[in-house]
């Protein structure tokens, strides 16, 4: 085959531009830290990239949702703890009050304390977290109990406040307030107070039964909350783990392997230098240089 200078020039020019192209690609990988800059560089990486990004966004969101769930549950837990200690004190008083050794004056004093305990109970029922009443189902804009003396003022809201913690999995964050802050409890508190005021020990004894039943229900609700809290922690752990995995997969998928890129770049650079050198050598001399 006949070879002319212009062919050599053309060839070495093309090689140089291909080599520049490759270097450009590697430089781009180096500066962006990504394997690809447009989908056509690698359709599979691009599609997976989109999917993994969405996946990661979802996990981040679920983590954010979880913290809201934590806030609800931890506050509910603290409130229930307080309610139980209130109930505990109330029971002591009632046991004392049903004892015939106390005088009506003593019972009056106990009635005063019961009243305070009731107000405390009502206050807990109307616990607000970040402006939301957490013990009124999803009607978080209204207090649970508006009038401590009127059982009819107790709201009956008990819709679950559900938070999505994984795709399609919702976890209830509030407690079933019907089991704790209900009409019955206000009736019992009022009954206890008036029984102590009137020293009606028979009534006290019969209220004791209802009181204990209510205390059991509260304790059951607290156990359930505890169990749910455990579940929340498990979900949290799992999501934390998934996030680590998802981040790694995302990185594996589209992040450039910097060592590899640098090595390739160095390699490409030396190829480029070589082709520049060879080009310069091949193009320069012609017969012209050797004629007289």
């Amino acid at each position: 085959m006949r070879v002319t200078q212009s062919m050599l020039t053309q060839n070495s020019l093309r090689q140089l531009s291909t080599s520049y192209g490759k270097m450009g690609k590697l430089m781009e990988q180096l500066s962006t830290g990504k394997k690809i800059s447009r989908p056509s560089d690698d359709p599979v990486v691009a599609m997976k990239g989109m999917y993994y990004r969405t996946n990661l966004t979802e996990l981040e969101q679920y983590k954010r949702n979880l913290s809201e769930s934590y806030a609800w549950m931890e506050n509910s837990e603290a409130a229930l703890d307080h309610v139980q200690s209130v109930m505990h004190r109330a029971r002591e008083l009632v046991v004392q009050g049903s004892n015939d050794t106390y005088s009506p004056e003593d019972r009056q004093a106990m009635a005063k304390e019961i009243e305070q305990l009731k107000h405390d109970f009502v206050q807990v029922a109307n616990t607000q977290v970040a402006g939301k009443y957490i013990f009124n189902g999803t009607a978080i804009d209204k207090p649970r109990i508006t009038d401590a003396n009127d059982p009819m003022s107790v709201s009956m809201e008990n819709s679950p406040f559900e938070v999505e913690v994984s795709r399609g999995i919702k976890l209830q964050s509030n407690i079933n307030a019907d089991n704790v802050f209900n009409k019955d409890m206000i009736e019992i508190w009022n009954g206890l107070q008036s029984a102590l005021e009137s020293s009606d020990t028979d009534a006290l004894k019969s209220l004791m039964g209802r009181f204990d039943k209510a205390a059991d229900a509260i304790s059951a609700e607290r156990s359930e909350l505890g169990a749910r809290y455990n579940r929340l922690e498990m979900v949290d752990n799992r999501i934390g783990y998934q996030e680590v995995v998802a981040t790694r997969i995302l990185s594996d998928n589209e992040d450039a392997d910097i060592e590899k890129v640098i090595t390739n770049l160095t390699m490409q650079e030396s190829v480029h230098r070589a082709s520049l050198g060879v080009g310069a050598r091949v193009i320069q001399p012609s017969l012209l240089d050797f004629l007289r």
């Binding site: 085959m1 006949r2 070879v3 002319t4 200078q5 212009s6 062919m7 053309q10 060839n11 093309r14 447009r38 989908p39 056509s40 560089d41 690698d42 359709p43 691009a46 599609m47 990239g49 989109m50 999917y51 990004r53 969405t54 966004t57 979802e58 969101q61 679920y62 954010r64 949702n65 809201e68 769930s69 402006g131 939301k132 009124n136 189902g137 999803t138 009607a139 978080i140 804009d141 809201e157 819709s159 406040f161 559900e162 938070v163 999505e164 795709r167 399609g168 919702k170 589209e254 012609s286 017969l287 012209l288 004629l291």
Partner: protein
């Protein structure tokens, strides 16, 4: 008897011919870098020997050479390589145009990135999730609105950008069309000049070069076939004649003639567009119209048409119309589904008035875009005026999961507190059926009052259920609208319980974010999109995947065809290119021959000197 000056004439011929050769060398060197230049060669021919064969020839021994002349100056070229080159150039034209338009599309779609549609949809989803956990938070509502606007803007931006690139492509098509016609015209002009020269025995080498260069250029735009037509007269056997250039399809069959060598006429090529869609419908060549299906060839023009879009019967085809259609489908179906869920939810404003108002979340500007006519849905996508007006119109709260009750409740068979559950079952034949059960909600546990038979649709069930509730006069009282119920909510063992509210009770609770969750779920819900059962997420991923594969193929093939064209070009260069070394060698060769011829004259001069000045002086 030969002439005394014979040798002088032979040497003179040598001088002149070598000079011609040297001039050609000079021409070659001068044009070494001229694009399309073919090196030229002087064909040396011996002049007619003396004596010629004839009756009255002198009786001298043998025939004597009379020197040399330049028989012809010929281009060194191989036309087979031209055909190959043009074939590859044609493919390159197609793939380059396609790769270019796909590259622009990739840049517009900008995936995967932090700014693409996918991320925008993710953010929208996130905003609903945040709203779901904080349904009363005005901040969360405002984020939902902003992200909704961002989704609408992204759809509009993508659609507008694609359309504007499509517009640019139309300009490029017009330019290409003009180029084809200009090239045809120029080739025709050269044909005419060649037609004037060749009959006189000339070889119009430089015109041939120019014409071949133009044909090369034309081959990139449309698929052509070149045939030669002789010019007649006393044309040299080396003459190339005039070129007839035909447009051919990919199997080489003729579509029509661009340049007609016999009549020296050019047929103009023009594209025809469909009035309503603006897409390419066909093309005209001279006086004949063709359907676009006839242009089954490659070349830049077809590459651009494939990208810009054309009408296949009544369907729009092409890369950009396809992508716009995907976006329209996504935008329309997304709006439909978000609206359906949103309309079923309870907004704060609805809760305040105590009456359910169905607010749309998205809408389409100034147009009646409906199922079956979704063109430009992405371009006209916007957040509805209701939502823009008031954040309170965002329906974050669910109420009975889409079952909307209206009217006034007058008790059910004397029961004042009723709960109705709606459930789906699948019968033995695998057909989905719907049933409802009415409970007395005041009893604990709830006591069943009646169970319905099966209904085939939720609408039927709603009608049947509404019939159960009457006022004291026996007139229908509560109306159950089940049109907003999502099938997912009643299938897979789920049921929806509707507690019939007491008179005056407001539906929905501000703290309930279940509808916000349902709205977030839309992105990942399986739907029928363009006849495919898929989610928005997957559909969009597959669209981008398709684009990526298309672009990759176009890039690869344009690189490959460039490599092929280059290698053919190398072979062509190998034959026709000017080698300076070679020209130098020739130059020296011709120079020496020239010098030697000049020496012959000197020698002859000396001989003549002897004859003229030295002879006839004997005995002086």
């Amino acid at each position: 008897m030969r002439s005394t000056f014979h040798s002088l004439e032979v040497a003179r011929r040598g001088l002149v011919t070598q000079q011609t050769a040297l001039q050609t060398v000079g021409h070659n060197i001068a044009n070494a870098n001229t694009p399309g230049y073919t090196r030229q060669r002087v064909n040396f021919v011996q002049t007619e020997p003396y004596p010629p064969a004839s009756m009255n020839r002198p009786q001298i021994p043998g025939q004597m050479g009379t020197g040399v002349e330049a028989g012809s100056i010929q281009r060194v070229r191989e036309s087979f390589l031209d055909i190959q080159y043009r074939g590859e150039n044609n493919k390159l034209g197609y793939w380059e145009a396609r790769a270019g338009s796909l590259q622009k599309m990739e840049e517009i779609m900008n995936e995967p990135s932090e700014t693409g549609l996918s991320t925008t949809l993710d953010r929208f989803w996130q905003a609903f999730q945040d709203l779901a956990v904080n349904p009363t938070n005005a901040g969360a509502r405002s984020v939902v609105r902003q992200r909704g606007l961002a989704v609408a803007e992204t759809f509009r931006f993508l659609s507008d950008s694609l359309s504007s690139v499509q517009g640019d492509m139309k300009n490029e098509m017009d330019v290409t069309e003009k180029q084809v016609n200009a090239l045809s015209q120029q080739i025709n002009n050269i044909n005419k000049q060649i037609g004037d020269l060749e009959p006189h025995g000339y070889l119009a080498n430089d015109l041939y070069d120019e014409r071949d260069r133009l044909v090369d250029e034309l081959s990139q735009l449309v698929n052509i076939k070149v045939s030669k037509v002789g010019t007649g007269g006393s044309a040299s056997p080396l003459a190339e004649g005039k070129y007839t250039i035909e447009m051919v399809d990919d199997s080489g069959r003729k579509i029509g003639t661009l340049v007609d060598a016999t009549s020296n006429r050019v047929n103009r090529l023009s594209l025809e567009y469909r009035a309503d869609t603006g897409l390419v419908d066909g093309f005209r060549l001279g006086d004949t119209s063709f359907g676009i299906g006839s242009m089954q060839s490659s070349g830049k023009l077809r590459g651009l048409i494939d990208s810009y879009g054309f009408m296949d019967g009544n369907t729009e085809k092409g890369l950009y119309p396809d992508m716009l259609n995907h976006l329209d489908t996504l935008a329309f179906e997304f709006a439909q589904e978000i609206n359906r869920v949103h309309e079923s939810g309870w907004s704060i404003s609805s809760m305040e008035t105590g009456e359910h108002t169905a607010f749309k979340f998205f809408e389409f500007k100034n147009t009646n875009i409906v199922a079956g006519n979704i063109k430009n849905a992405a371009k006209l996508f916007t957040v509805s005026a209701d939502i823009v007006q008031s954040l309170d119109n965002i329906a974050a709260s669910g109420y009975n999961k889409g079952i909307i009750t209206s009217g006034e409740f007058h008790g059910y068979n004397g029961v004042g507190n009723v709960s109705v559950t709606v459930q789906s079952t699948v019968d033995a034949d695998g057909v989905q059926q719907f049933t409802y059960t009415v409970y007395d909600a005041a009893k604990s546990p709830k006591q069943e009052l009646m169970t319905s038979g099966s209904f085939s649709t939720l609408e039927d069930l709603g009608a049947g259920l509404s019939g159960e509730f009457v006022d004291s006069a026996g007139n229908p009282s509560v109306n159950f609208d089940l049109s907003k119920v999502r099938l997912e909510d009643v299938s897979k063992g789920n049921f929806i319980a509707v507690d019939i509210p007491k008179t005056g009770e407001v539906g929905g609770r501000v703290g309930d974010g279940s509808n916000a969750i349902a709205l977030a779920e839309v992105k990942a819900r399986t739907l029928q999109l363009n006849g495919v059962s898929t989610t928005f997420q997957n559909y969009y991923e597959s669209v981008i995947g398709g684009l990526a594969v298309d672009a990759q193929e176009a890039n690869r093939l344009s690189y490959n065809s460039e490599t092929l064209r280059l290698s053919v070009d190398q072979r062509r260069q190998s034959v026709s290119g000017v080698s300076l070394d070679e020209e130098m060698t020739n130059m020296i060769q011709f120079q020496h021959a020239y010098n030697a011829s000049a020496r012959m004259i000197t020698l002859t001069d000396e001989l003549l000197d002897r004859i003229i000045n030295g002879l006839g002086l004997g005995g002086r």
